[in-house]
């Protein structure tokens, strides 16, 4: 398998070259184009198995599309190209060591050796209120993540605070907790709300734009939705 990322950083496209019978698992709706000999198999929880319940859990809690697709090149080599919804970058994270926590909307695709599970962090992740639903990726292979804006890597060593809407992924060696920022007044009025406090040592990737903040900036000027 060969994964190339083109048109970085604003309109990144992942170009996945598959050898015969090789597969890539991708988020539903991410496929842009593919060779005609690539077969698509749709499942509710393609990566790592687990069936309906796991798929549901991921859809409801992970902020992700309900279905995952497995693309397999048949009878020869093939190519699949993948893109996220929002403008921004795509990065390949090679996985050989610690498991990786990936923010639901940042997951784009993974190689078949990667197992995905919804990391149920309890209410603390819900409290983030910014789609902080984490997928736990483990195993050997590659995970492809996307960002709204640029991806910026931060080597965390000790306590560090991040706005939840800017998190892309982090190594599981880091602990995290959702907390309020400053006093209660600051929590309510600052526009920063709840943040994520990381601790320990490991790599963290953030995105330079916050999808929710963008949505509010534009959405607040749109007419109300009639239901």
């Amino acid at each position: 398998m060969e994964i190339k990322i083109e048109y970085r950083p604003s309109y990144a496209l992942a170009i996945v070259g598959l050898g015969m019978n090789e597969s890539i698992v991708a988020e539903g709706g991410a496929m842009v184009s593919m060779s005609s000999n690539v077969a698509i198999q749709t499942s509710r929880s393609a990566a790592g198995g687990g069936g309906l319940l796991k798929g549901l859990k991921r859809a409801v809690l992970g902020g992700e599309s309900f279905f995952m697709n497995t693309y397999t090149a048949q009878g020869g080599a093939g190519e699949v190209t993948l893109a996220p919804t929002l403008p921004g970058d795509i990065t390949v994270l090679p996985m050989t060591g610690p498991a990786m926590m990936i923010q639901g909307t940042s997951y784009l695709a993974s190689t078949p050796g990667i197992s995905l599970d919804t990391k149920w962090g309890g209410m603390k992740t819900l409290l983030g209120g910014e789609g902080l639903f984490m997928l736990k990726a483990s195993g050997q292979g590659q995970v492809i993540v996307n960002s709204f804006g640029a991806i910026h890597e931060i080597p965390v060593n000790g306590p560090y605070i991040v706005d939840s809407g800017h998190i892309v992924a982090f190594e599981e060696t880091l602990t995290f907790e959702v907390k309020r920022v400053g006093s209660w007044k600051a929590t309510i009025l600052s526009g920063e709300g709840l943040v994520t406090l990381f601790n320990g040592k490991g790599r963290l990737w953030i995105q330079s734009r916050n999808p929710r903040a963008f949505g509010h900036a534009v959405g607040s000027k749109l007419p109300p939705r009639e239901s």
Partner: protein, 226 residues
């Protein structure tokens, strides 16, 4: 205070290193990440009397886009680091203020370092006629000011009357006078798609942004489900 701006121009990210106890004023909701011992204090985003700030803050909120509050972040005794980004895609530009002032469209204000004051620009209300939420702030003092744009920022030297769509204004020097007016005759105002514009006169620098949030909203509106 040291700073760097990365990922320009589409997804600019401002990183600032503060010395012990140093402060930076940041538009509400713009903090991306920071040292864990950074203190945050929240206050209304336009100084000049409580009543006026409340009125202005609410006005800005109603017009959309802007937050009512700004935050002052203060570094701990070891100093600290903070990263800052606006909500829209676009650039961040550093304005070194040296005792003078600059007038900023409110949604273009991102952050001000020590020594930079930001207040409501008097007479800004007339710009309401622009219908595009053009609230103006005046930044002054000596220090580092950071503004953001939707799209790229274009700098112009103005020395004769010049017309700009209100939605594309980022900032201008106070040596420039401005008037909000209709473009062409009434037929043009209604049908040109340009609406009201801002006419600048005098000499000074003007900064424009290459995209308009109002235009994006106008494009999206008819696409919404009925």
């Amino acid at each position: 205070m040291e700073f760097g701006i990365r990922y320009r121009p589409s997804y600019s990210l401002l990183g600032v290193k503060l010395t012990p106890n140093e402060q930076i004023l940041v538009e509400g909701g713009s903090m991306v990440s920071m040292s864990a011992d950074m203190a945050i204090d929240t206050h209304l985003n336009a100084t000049g009397g409580l009543l006026k700030s409340v009125a202005v803050a609410i006005g800005r909120k109603i017009l959309g886009g802007e937050t009512m509050f700004v935050n002052t972040f203060t570094a701990g005794p070891q100093g600290g680091q903070i990263m800052i980004a606006p909500s829209m895609n676009g650039d961040i530009v550093h304005f070194p203020l040296k005792g003078g002032g600059v007038i900023i469209q409110a949604s273009s204000f991102l952050a001000g370092g020590p020594g930079v004051g930001v207040k409501l620009k008097l007479g800004g209300i007339k710009t309401l006629l622009g219908g595009e939420g053009l609230f103006l702030l005046e930044a002054s003092g000596t220090g580092d000011l950071f503004i953001n744009s939707y799209g790229a920022i274009r700098e112009l030297d103005i020395n004769s009357p010049f017309i700009v769509d209100t939605g594309h204004i980022v900032a201008f020097e106070p040596t420039l006078n401005f008037n909000v007016k209709k473009v062409g005759n009434w037929k043009s105002t209604i049908f040109s798609g340009e609406g009201l514009v801002c006419e600048f006169q005098g000499r000074g620098k003007l900064w424009l942004q290459t995209r308009s949030v109002g235009a994006l909203v106008g494009w999206l509106r008819p696409m919404l489900p009925a």
